[in-house]
């Protein structure tokens, strides 16, 4: 790429050298776009966000236009595509950053010792906390994990070790795919329908939430465990068979330990997926203001449902303006929830890193 302004005669004389925009062209167009948009924003009194949008538009139109005049149509289209791809990425990152920033800004203020250690019983106005929701989320998620890990793991073992090519394996793979697509609220309704059938229409228990969450968790566990088990080299299985070890012991003592790290990573990621689920818990575990440690009796609050109920009935806004007290609590709980999800993700990555090398052979 040339860095000096082009001399058209020179470019024509050597066939391989064609007119190119100088390297600083994009910077120049960028500055001009920003400048024009800035001036327009100032003089016409636009919203600054609108100004940025206009600047981006000017850039996306301007650079390819200049390129079209100098470099020809094909290069211009190429530049346009490049611009659009960058803009697409940028504009997807914007809401993420905006959201995280809002949660941090509004959440940090809401969190203190009281917030973490109090429930919402008899709270009118400000105050109260998420203790009951935190405990509920913990219990419901642990129960869901206890249900889904054995089922998911054994299904994966069936698919990789026993059922290869069998009809049941094909059907199961298909059903796991279908399960991945179940809307979370349908999972909640299923759990509800199940428990209503057993206990009558007014039933709301935490364990129902666990059942619903396991329905969402199982496919993720199966998928990741299956993938990890397939990564175990068949050499190792054969080595074990050749020592006269029965198949099931080979699986338990050789295959599973070798893929343990990956399986745990998958499970932790699956937990981080379902821990933020709201709809199924709202439907079957219900909402309450008090602590409930019994999964099998009575409504149970969970963090996501807490956020929803603080948002949908935030209480009365203080006289003299400001947000109703529920909003602050919702943001605080959202921050805690996101922190939990991120920590789980981090743990999963670390476990994955620690356990990853053993299958790697040194030779």
């Amino acid at each position: 790429m040339t860095t000096t302004p082009l001399e058209p005669d020179f470019a024509v004389s050597v066939g391989l050298v064609q007119p190119r925009l100088p390297r600083w062209a994009s910077i120049l167009v960028g500055v001009i776009s920003l400048g024009v948009a800035g001036l327009l924003t100032m003089f016409l009194g636009w919203n600054p966000v609108g100004g940025i949008v206009v600047a981006v538009l000017l850039f996306v139109v301007g650079l390819p236009l200049w390129s079209a005049l100098l470099e020809g149509r094909r290069t211009a289209v190429d530049r346009l595509a490049t611009c659009l791809v960058w803009v697409a990425f940028g504009s997807v990152v914007v809401p993420l950053v905006w959201l995280i920033w809002l949660v941090l800004k509004n959440g940090v203020g809401a969190i203190d010792m009281e917030f973490l250690t109090y429930d919402m019983r008899n709270i009118v106005g400000a105050g109260g906390g998420i203790y009951h929701a935190l405990m509920g989320t913990l219990l419901v998620t642990i129960a869901a994990t206890i249900i889904s890990v054995p089922i998911g793991l054994f299904t994966a073992i069936y698919l990789t070790e026993y059922g290869k090519g069998s009809r049941l394996a094909r059907v199961t793979t298909f059903l796991v795919d279908v399960m991945t697509g179940i809307p979370s609220i349908v999972a909640g309704l299923f759990a509800l329908a199940l428990f209503v059938l057993i206990f009558g229409p007014a039933i709301r228990i935490g364990f129902g939430g666990s059942v619903a969450l396991s329905l969402l968790m199982i496919p993720t566990v199966v998928r990741s465990a299956e993938e990890m088990l397939r990564l175990v080299p068949s050499d190792l299985r054969e080595a074990s068979y050749a020592l006269g070890v029965p198949k099931w012991r080979t699986i338990v003592k050789v295959v599973l330990p070798t893929s343990l790290g990956g399986i745990i990573t998958g499970v932790v990621l699956a937990i981080s997926r379902v821990i933020g689920e709201t709809a199924p818990l709202l439907v079957v575990a219900g909402a309450t203001d008090s602590v409930n440690f019994n999964l099998f009796d009575g409504r149970m609050m969970t963090l996501p449902v807490y956020i929803f109920s603080q948002y949908s009935s935030p209480g009365v806004a203080p006289i003299g303006g400001g947000d109703p007290p529920g909003y602050a609590r919702a943001w605080g709980a959202a921050l805690v929830l996101i922190a939990i999800v991120m920590v789980l993700n981090l743990i999963a990555r670390i476990i994955g890193k620690i356990f990853a090398p053993p299958t790697d052979r040194r030779r």
Binding site: P233, L236, A239, A242, L243, V245, R249, K253, P358, R361
Partner: protein, 259 residues
């Protein structure tokens, strides 16, 4: 404890595909028997049929007889797992268990079968097996280190130690040196010489010189044509095989005219 193996009219199938046809031979006890032949001629498949390892692949089956001391391996009541305990196997690529230390790798056969063994007995098995595999002096100071940390040749000797720790009667080796450098290869070949005092050894090799160096008997496998099943062309003492073979195609193969 070494035993001889009698094979009569053995056909091996993968589903409908006939991989090996009509093999008859007697593998002598306390001797090294080598199988040579071009790629895809069924020599590895045949080896794996000797301890029913080929059954790991779904659809694999055999017709004919494999007799070890008068007991047919393919009798309906015979448990393949028990067969493999008595007929051990070493593979092409060294495959120590990555989650286990050197010590645990040697004991894997015993531990995985959940045999309860005392610490002293376990130590003794590990030392004896590693010594038999000529590996003891190299690893005795780092028995608790992972087996994957050894060099390729050491890993292969570790796998041999692991195989003989369960005290099998026959040791099958499927191209045990093909993934190793020349120095490690000669270490393994020396080891095979020593092991033959106690075990019946069957080795598949791509390398004719290796067969000539280590074996007492040699079997030459070949394909009649592409897509046809492999078959045993000639089975003779190694000396005779490499100096004055009965079959013309054996001589052609050994002198390098094909394969």
């Amino acid at each position: 404890m070494a035993k001889s193996i009698d094979i009569s009219d053995l056909d091996i199938y993968y589903g409908d595909f006939k991989a090996v046809e009509g093999v008859n031979m007697t593998i002598r006890a306390r001797a090294v028997t080598a199988f040579i032949g071009p790629s895809g001629c069924g020599k590895s498949t045949f080896l794996r049929a000797l301890n029913r390892m080929h059954e790991v692949i779904p659809g694999a089956r055999v017709e004919g007889k494999v007799m070890v001391s008068g007991q047919s391996l393919y009798d309906p009541g015979v448990d393949p797992v028990a067969v493999r305990r008595q007929i051990g196997m070493v593979f092409q690529r060294p495959n120590p268990f990555p989650t286990m230390s050197i010590y645990e790798n040697v004991l894997a056969g015993n531990r995985l079968n959940s045999r309860k063994i005392k610490k002293a007995e376990a130590d003794e098995i590990v030392e004896r097996s590693l010594k038999s595999a000529n590996l003891w002096t190299e690893v005795k100071d780092r028995l608790s280190k992972p087996g994957m940390g050894l060099s390729g040749g050491q890993q292969q000797r570790l796998c041999i130690a692991r195989a003989i720790a369960v005290e099998p009667e026959v040791l099958l080796m499927d191209e045990p040196c093909s993934a190793l450098d020349p120095i490690s290869t000669s270490a393994i070949e020396d080891l095979i010489h020593e092991l033959k005092a106690d075990y019946t050894i069957v080795i598949v090799t791509h390398n004719m010189q290796q067969a000539a160096r280590v074996s007492d008997d040699t079997g030459f496998f070949n394909l009649k044509a592409a897509g046809q099943p492999g078959h045993l062309v000639e089975f003779n003492p190694t000396n005779k095989m490499f100096t004055n073979p009965d079959e013309e195609s054996t001589e052609a193969y050994i002198s390098g005219r094909f394969g």
